[in-house]
C-alpha cells in the first residue's frame, strides 16, 4: 500500500469513527449541562451533573426501573439461551425431514412482526394474570427463531466425531450437550447472550403494553416518561439515556471478542 493510500484510508477511518462516537460523546456532555445549554448546542462538559442527578432521582424511581430491567433481562437471557441452544442443537444433530420442515415453519415465523401478534398475546396474558410480572415480560421472546437458527448454524460446525466418541464412552445425550457442546461453543453463547441481553434490555413495546403499574417499569419506559410533557429537561433526559445505555455497553465490551468470533461461527 502506498503512503498516499494509507493516509486516505486513515482519514476516512478517523472520520467514520468520529461520526459514530460523536453522538455518544454528546450524550455524556449533555448529561452534565442544563437543559437550556443543551438546546443552545453546548458540546463541552458543564457543571450541572449533580443537579441533573438530583432532579432525575427525584422525578423518577430509577432504582426500581434499573432493578426491574436487570431482573427481566438476566432471567430472559439465561432461560432463552438454554432453550434456544437446545433447540438449535436438536434441529441439527438429530435432523430428519420432519424436523427440517418444523425448522422452516419457525423461520417463517421470523417474518411475522410482533405488532401483529401483540393483541392476541395481550389477551392471553391478561387472562392468565401475567400482567406486571417477570413471566409476562419474558414469555413472548423466550425462544426466538433467530437464536435457534444461530445455534443450529454453529452446531453444524460441531464435529460429529466428538459426539460419537462421547457416546462410545457412555455419556448420555443430554450430558453430551451440556458437557461437550456447551463448553466448545462458548463464543456462540457469548454472541447470543449479547444479542439477547440487548434486545431484552431495549424492549419497549411489549413491556409498555403489559406493565401497568408503577412498580414494574423498565429503564426504557422511564426514558420515555422523561420526553413527555410540555417542557423537556434535556440534561436530565440525557443522564437517563446514559444510565440506560451503560449496562448494554458494558455487556458488549466485555464480550466483544467472543461476539465477533461467535458471529463468524468458529470452533477451536
Amino acid at each position: 500500500m502506498t503512503k498516499g493510500k494509507k493516509i486516505a484510508m486513515y482519514v476516512f477511518l478517523i472520520l467514520a469513527s468520529f461520526i459514530s462516537v460523536f453522538p455518544l460523546y454528546w450524550m455524556v456532555c449533555a448529561a452534565t449541562n442544563t437543559s437550556a445549554d443543551v438546546l443552545r448546542g453546548r458540546i463541552i462538559p458543564g457543571g450541572n451533573l449533580l443537579v441533573n442527578v438530583k432532579n432525575l432521582f427525584a422525578a423518577q424511581d430509577i432504582g426500581t426501573a434499573l432493578g426491574n430491567s436487570f431482573k427481566y433481562s438476566i432471567v430472559l437471557t439465561l432461560i432463552s439461551l438454554v432453550i434456544c441452544s437446545l433447540a438449535g442443537y436438536g434441529f441439527e444433530i438429530y435432523h430428519d425431514k420432519a424436523k427440517d420442515a418444523v425448522m422452516s415453519v419457525i423461520l417463517l415465523a421470523m417474518m411475522v412482526p410482533f405488532v401483529a401478534t401483540m393483541i392476541p398475546l395481550f389477551q392471553m396474558f391478561s387472562k392468565a394474570g401475567w400482567l406486571n410480572s417477570t413471566i409476562g415480560f419474558i414469555l413472548p421472546t423466550i425462544s426466538t427463531p433467530f437464536l435457534i437458527m444461530m445455534f443450529r448454524q454453529s452446531a453444524r460446525s460441531f464435529p460429529h466425531d466428538i459426539i460419537e466418541a462421547a457416546r462410545i464412552d457412555g455419556l448420555s445425550e443430554i450430558r453430551i450437550f451440556f458437557q461437550m457442546f456447551m463448553p466448545t461453543m462458548r463464543s456462540t453463547y457469548a454472541a447470543a447472550m449479547t444479542i439477547t441481553f440487548m434486545n431484552a434490555w431495549n424492549n419497549y413495546l411489549w413491556p409498555k403494553v403489559i406493565m401497568t403499574n408503577a412498580k414494574s417499569v423498565t429503564m426504557p419506559m422511564v426514558v420515555a416518561n422523561l420526553t413527555q410533557g410540555y417542557v423537556t429537561d434535556y440534561g436530565m433526559l440525557m443522564l437517563a439515556v446514559l444510565i440506560c445505555t451503560l449496562p448494554t455497553a458494558i455487556v458488549f465490551f466485555c464480550l466483544q471478542k467472543s461476539f465477533a468470533e461467535g458471529i463468524t461461527g468458529a470452533v477451536k
Binding site: 437543559s35 423518577q60 411475522v112 395481550f122 417542557v231
Partner: protein
C-alpha cells in the same frame, strides 16, 4: 424444487389460517368479555353507590411537572373532605396511553384500564368514536360543563354527550421579546389585536433592524396552520365528518399567509421540536406563537427574565369570522368504563377540576391555567408575572380561552393534519395551492375508506 415450493406454500397457508383463527376467536371473546366488564362495573357502582366514602382511584397521566402534579394536588384537595379516598397516579406517556387503550379496547379486555385517564384533546373524539365501550358518559355526572370555555369542552363532546372534564388550557398566545422589538422601534401594543398583514409589516422592520425573524416553526408540522384555521372557526372536517379541505376558503387564505410569512423571512423553519424550543431560548428569533403551555419552555431561559411579553395572535385577512384567538393542544380527563366506583370518580372530578378554585390556585405554579371560568376570577390569577414584565398573564389567558372558536376534530384529525402538513411543505416549495389541497383531501378520503 416444485415440491419444496409446494411445501412452503402450504406452510404459509397454515400460518395464515392459524392467525385468521386467532382473530375470529378473539373477537368472540371480546364481545362476551365486554358485557362481563360492563356488568361488573354496574354491580360495583350500585354496591358502592350508597356510600361514596372510601375507595381508590387510579389515574394515567404523563407529566410529573404538570398534569401529574395537578392530579396529586386535586387528590389533596379532595382528601380534605374525604380522608379515606386514595388516588394512585401511574405515570404513562401519552403515546403509551394511546397504545394501551387501543390494545385493551381491541382485545376487548378493558380490565387493565385505570379509573380515570388523561387524553389529548385532539385525540378525544377519535377514541370515543372508535372505542365507545371504553368510556363513560359524563353528561349527568354532576360536573357543570357550562362553566368551562365552550371551545374547550367541544373537544370531548361526541353526539351531544360529554365524555371529558376539561383540564389544561391550550389557548394560543403570541409571545415577543420586548427588548428586540425595541431595537426596531416597536412595542407590544403594535402586536396586539393586529392582522397577519400588519404582523408581516412589523416582522420586516424587526428583520431589518436586528436580523432576527419574528417566529420559528417546525418544518413538516402544521401547528401554526391549524391555529390560524381555528382562529376563524374553521376545521378540516364538516359536521357530518366529511373532509373540508379543497372547498375550504379559509384554509386557502391560511396557506397563502403562511407562504408569505416564509417568503418574507419573517418566519423561519427549523427541523425539530428541540430546535424550535432552542431558537427562542437562545434568542435567535424575536418571539413565537403557540398554546399557552409554551410559556414554561420560554421561562427556562432565565437570562431573558423581564424581556418577554404576551398578547393575542394576529387575525386572518379577508375571512368573515376571523378572530385573534385560537387553541393548540390541551387535554381532558376521561372516566373509563372499567371504573369500579363511578360515583366516586364523578364526585372527585366535579369537586376538584370542575369546582375548586383552591385547586386551580395551587396548580397555577406549574403553569396549568384553567379553562374553568370561575378560576380566572381568583386573586392568584390577577397577580403579575415578573418574567413577562409584571403582566397578569394567567388572567389574560383565561380571557383568551373564552373567546376561542370551537372546531371539529373527528376520527381522522391526525391523518388530515398530516396531509395538510405535506401540502404546506410543497406549497412553500412553490407548488400550486389548489392542486396540493386536492391531493390532501384525496389522501384523507383514502384514509377514511
Amino acid at each position: 424444487m416444485k415440491r419444496k415450493l409446494m411445501s412452503l406454500l402450504l406452510v404459509g397457508a397454515m400460518t395464515t389460517a392459524m392467525f385468521a383463527g386467532c382473530g375470529s376467536s378473539s373477537d368472540d371473546a371480546a364481545s362476551t368479555d365486554n358485557t362481563a366488564t360492563t356488568n361488573d362495573a354496574a354491580d360495583a357502582s350500585t354496591e358502592s353507590g350508597s356510600s361514596a366514602e372510601g375507595g381508590k382511584l387510579t389515574v394515567w397521566c404523563w407529566d410529573p411537572a404538570f398534569n401529574i402534579f395537578s392530579m396529586e394536588e386535586a387528590a389533596k384537595v379532595y382528601q380534605k373532605d374525604h380522608p379515606d379516598v386514595d388516588v394512585e397516579v401511574i405515570e404513562t406517556p401519552w403515546e403509551d396511553v394511546q397504545t394501551k387503550l387501543t390494545t385493551a379496547a381491541t382485545s376487548g379486555d378493558l380490565s387493565s384500564l385505570p379509573d380515570i385517564l388523561l387524553m389529548q384533546d385532539n385525540a378525544f373524539q377519535k377514541n370515543v368514536i372508535s372505542y365507545p365501550d371504553a368510556f363513560t358518559d359524563l353528561t349527568d355526572s354532576g360536573v357543570d360543563f357550562s362553566q368551562f370555555a365552550a371551545g374547550k369542552t367541544a373537544y370531548s363532546v361526541v353526539d351531544g354527550k360529554n365524555y371529558g372534564v376539561p383540564f389544561d388550557n391550550g389557548a394560543v398566545i403570541a409571545c415577543y421579546r420586548t427588548d428586540v422589538l425595541e431595537q426596531a422601534g416597536l412595542t407590544i401594543d403594535d402586536f396586539t389585536d393586529i392582522t397577519w398583514d400588519q404582523y408581516i409589516e412589523n416582522g420586516k422592520k424587526v428583520l431589518d433592524a436586528t436580523g432576527k425573524p419574528l417566529i420559528s416553526m417546525q418544518a413538516g408540522e402544521c401547528d401554526l396552520i391549524m391555529m390560524m384555521l381555528q382562529s376563524a372557526g374553521s376545521s378540516l372536517f364538516n359536521e357530518d365528518g366529511t373532509a373540508n379541505i379543497v372547498n375550504n376558503d379559509t384554509l386557502k387564505v391560511v396557506m397563502e399567509t403562511y407562504k408569505e410569512l416564509k417568503d418574507t423571512g419573517v418566519l423561519t423553519e427549523v427541523n425539530s421540536w428541540d430546535e424550535y424550543v432552542g431558537s427562542f431560548v437562545s434568542g435567535d428569533v424575536a418571539g413565537t406563537i403557540n398554546g399557552c403551555w409554551i410559556m414554561a419552555s420560554i421561562k427556562t431561559a432565565e437570562d431573558q427574565n423581564g424581556n418577554w411579553a404576551i398578547t393575542d395572535m394576529p387575525s386572518l385577512v379577508g375571512v368573515d369570522d376571523a378572530t385573534n384567538y385560537s387553541n393548540n393542544g390541551g387535554s381532558s380527563w376521561a372516566v373509563t368504563s372499567n371504573c369500579q366506583n363511578k360515583d366516586l370518580a364523578f364526585d372527585f372530578l366535579a369537586s376538584t377540576f370542575g369546582g375548586s378554585t383552591e385547586l386551580y390556585d395551587n396548580i397555577l405554579s406549574c403553569g396549568a391555567i384553567a379553562t374553568w371560568a370561575p378560576a380566572g376570577d381568583s386573586d392568584k390569577y390577577a397577580e403579575g408575572d415578573d418574567f413577562f414584565g409584571g403582566d397578569a398573564v394567567s388572567a389574560k389567558i383565561v380571557d383568551f380561552a373564552t373567546k376561542v372558536p370551537s372546531n371539529i376534530t373527528g376520527v381522522y384529525y391526525y391523518e388530515a393534519r398530516d396531509a395538510v402538513a405535506v401540502a404546506t411543505t410543497n406549497v412553500i416549495n412553490g407548488a400550486d395551492i389548489a392542486t396540493e389541497l386536492q391531493t390532501a383531501e384525496d389522501t384523507v378520503n383514502f384514509n377514511m375508506q
